[in-house]
Symmetry: C2
Subunit: 192 residues, 2 copies
Amino acid sequence: MPPSRPQRADARRNRAALLAAAREAFLAGEEESHVEEIARRAGVAVGTLYRHFETREALVEEVYRREVDDLCAAAGTFLAQNPPEEALRLFLLLLVEHAAVGRGMAVALETIMVTDSPIFEDSRERMAGALDELIEAGTAAGTLRGGVGGRTLMRALGGICALRTAEGWQDEAVLITRVLFDGLRHGAVEAR
Amino acid sequence: MPPSRPQRADARRNRAALLAAAREAFLAGEEESHVEEIARRAGVAVGTLYRHFETREALVEEVYRREVDDLCAAAGTFLAQNPPEEALRLFLLLLVEHAAVGRGMAVALETIMVTDSPIFEDSRERMAGALDELIEAGTAAGTLRGGVGGRTLMRALGGICALRTAEGWQDEAVLITRVLFDGLRHGAVEAR
DNA sequence: CCTCAAACGGAGCCCGACTCATCTTCTGGG
DNA sequence: CCCAGAAGATGAGTCGGGCTCCGTTTGAGG
């Protein structure tokens, strides 16, 4: 049932501007992601921000839900074009790269993966689903260990993405991701 | 050079009380770890807290430095009584268990491992040192992959400990830690 | 146009970290 | 034992950031 009165044009515009501004602010770093600052960037007042988003957290969530959408889509693409365990490897590395986009974004990724706040439940579920798909394909092919759920793996990744520290962090992340990946293959060999 | 005037007795007592109260508060959960609350638990006023610790963070740091001391000591013990890769396995699991002590403590562990704040530099260095020792012993014995530094591994662990979510998180953590561990052994087998 | 619900603005509230002017308590020397 | 005065403790107050509330503005259906 579509709402009888859809939504005013300016409201839609402002909502979009807020999401864009928030994304920008998160990418830029934590310093400039106060609500006042985000509102300013979007050219609205804080009150307007709160009209569209319950809390600051809710805004973060919405921004991130969109990022997660892109990531999940990528998982499907990889799986369609590669052997399952290669698809998983690519996906893990994509996550790392993705976190590299910006400090603020990594913070969000970390939060979404690592916190158990119900706010992120939905995004987490979809992300875990994407990973499950990859892992199951690999398990079926006998190249990956079973028994490790998408949720579990995702949380470890959250930690890794949370590295985002000093220079060189990305190499570290890639390395540790590879170790994790090898651990997943290892289990298949050992029949656990 | 011992300070000419050492430190007043009540000051030493209060400092100890603050550290104890802070630890207690962190273990209890984030809710009760506001500075006012910590001061109250210790039976002093906030001003006193700030006389002893530059910032709230500095207090967290000090509390955690002590935890890290215990952990590092355990690493040595394990290594003395087990084959190197078994010692590493035990140590990794000890970290997970340690994080289980309390939500608040896990937050601290996470922060210390994952943040690059210079405040935790010291603790991080010692922790990485303990891990390096374990890894190097295993590498020398040919049972663990080389090329993964203690710092790198530690940060991944920080992420895992940061799980501390809903029920069942600890099983998840143990599982993913095992995957990580298998990845480390796997590299040795493959000669990378 | 005109109406009015929807949307916006922004001063101000609340809460939590932190400061500082003032009062209290040790302690070492006489 | 006592006193000086330095070390220490206090807690009301400041500040910053998230959030609220209500008076004002604006888009759109009639």
